[in-house]
């Protein structure tokens, strides 16, 4: 499996199919038992958890992670907060945030260091329509900039237009990796069912 710069690849599969595990392996958070993962540049990841501290504000969290990345204080924290629509809550502790706000903040954290590889695990979970569109715009912008994206999601309808290929995960294995080739969400689901039936 390979993902080239400027490409977005979507992983689909049922619960427990191994999508999250594969993303965690790609991010280096898990050690593979066998096989290797190569990438060039920096990696960013949006996962099920925010990976941030409830007692800190959005701005404090992003500033902290910016420091760890060695980023200059050039206003990017505030720009990302504005971009993801959290301006009104930037100085609130994130313990008070709703699920959607936390998801937007998690995306801001992942974008902070302008990664070359971005791994997104259910990026649209908890987002309203406006925020979903913002995230889809961000995905398009990242592709234009030459980033490689791997997106694991059940929200096929919203994301299908943003990706070029689909990886079908069945029982912990990548059963197929195919171009979208004009398939709509229903077509992807049908193809997935074929693969599950074939696997069984």
């Amino acid at each position: 499996m390979d993902v080239v710069p400027g490409e977005a690849l979507m992983l689909v599969g049922g619960n427990g199919a191994g999508k999250t595990t594969l993303l965690r392996l790609m991010a280096g958070l898990l050690k593979p038992n066998r096989g290797t993962i190569h990438y060039s540049g920096a990696v960013g990841m949006v996962a099920h958890h925010t990976m941030m501290y409830d007692a800190l504000t959005a701005r404090e969290n992003l500033t902290f992670f910016g420091r760890l990345h060695g980023l200059p204080r050039d206003g990017r924290v505030d720009r990302l907060i504005d971009l993801l629509g959290l301006t009104h809550a930037r100085d609130q502790r994130i313990a008070t945030y709703s699920r959607g706000m936390l998801q937007r903040l998690a995306i801001a954290r992942a974008l902070l260091h302008e990664p070359d590889v971005l791994l997104l695990d259910e990026p649209l979970t908890g987002l309203d329509d406006a925020a979903s569109h913002t995230v889809l715009d961000v995905i398009d912008e990242l592709k234009r900039r030459g980033a490689a994206l791997v997106i694991a999601s059940h929200q096929l309808v919203e994301l299908i237009g943003a990706v070029a290929r689909v990886g079908y995960m069945v029982a912990g294995r990548l059963a197929a990796l195919e171009p979208i080739a004009g398939l709509d969400a229903g077509g992807v689901v049908s193809r997935y069912r074929e693969l599950v039936a074939g696997d069984g």
């Binding site: 958890h49 501290y53 800190l56 404090e60 760890l68």
Partner: protein
């Protein structure tokens, strides 16, 4: 080197800021310290156990267990929202993370110790003002080794289901040499014994610090890998 110091400082500052906001571990540690000092003071028979006999043990039992509450919190904080994964996605080295956690824990425990010390003087009526710098030196020396091993083990147990129980079980055996040394030194300081009577215990304490700080630093990376 500058990068290491910058990241270490950022991690320590973040930990202290979170603790300042929540005060969870600090308040628990302080209440615990006051309780232990008071219970040990009132539980003894004053006619058979003198202040100087009980005071060193009371002081170090207080510091040891009050510090445990803070050490437990150090990595529980990183388990919340899987923040440790967020740290591992940055270029932060395990060395910087370990040092940042150690510095944060040292400041935390240092504050608990500094607040507990006047209570200790009050309860046990020990005139230590002249010997205070030496006593503070011993406290600092013992605290460094304690925090280094405690930070390593705190990272190790944080993924277990009963981390609050596991930490004391694993940590206390390692603490026998530094705590025994610290108790012996404290007794000698309070009894105004000459320095020549302390060099052996001081050497043991210093050796523990060097050996266990280095080992903890070297082993920390292996513990971080899931």
């Amino acid at each position: 080197m500058g990068e290491l110091l910058r990241v270490t400082a950022a991690i320590a500052r973040k930990d202290l800021k979170v603790e300042w906001r929540t005060k969870t571990a600090f308040v628990s540690s302080l209440v615990f310290a006051v309780l232990v000092l008071a219970v040990l003071y009132f539980a003894r028979d004053k006619t058979s156990v003198g202040d100087y006999d009980l005071a060193p043990g009371a002081l170090w039992v207080t510091f040891t267990f009050a510090g445990m509450l803070g050490l437990n919190r150090a990595f529980l904080l990183e388990r919340e929202n899987r923040a440790l994964d967020g740290l591992r996605l940055t270029p932060t080295t395990p060395t910087a993370l370990f040092l940042g956690k150690v510095v944060g824990n040292l400041v935390f425990l240092g504050v608990v110790e500094l607040v507990s010390l006047p209570l200790f003087i009050l309860f046990y009526d020990v005139p230590i003002w002249r010997q205070l710098p030496v006593l503070l030196g011993v406290v600092a020396l013992a605290t460094v080794g304690y925090v280094a091993v405690g930070t390593l083990l705190s990272a190790m147990v944080v993924r277990t289901r009963f981390s609050e129980v596991m930490l004391p079980v694993l940590l206390l055996p390692f603490l026998v040499p530094p705590i025994v040394s610290a108790v012996q030194l404290t007794w000698r300081i309070l009894a105004l014994r000459p320095l020549s009577e302390m060099t052996g215990w001081l050497s043991l304490l210093a050796a523990f610090d060097v050996i266990f700080f280095t080992l903890s630093l070297l082993l920390f990376e292996a513990i971080l890998v899931e």
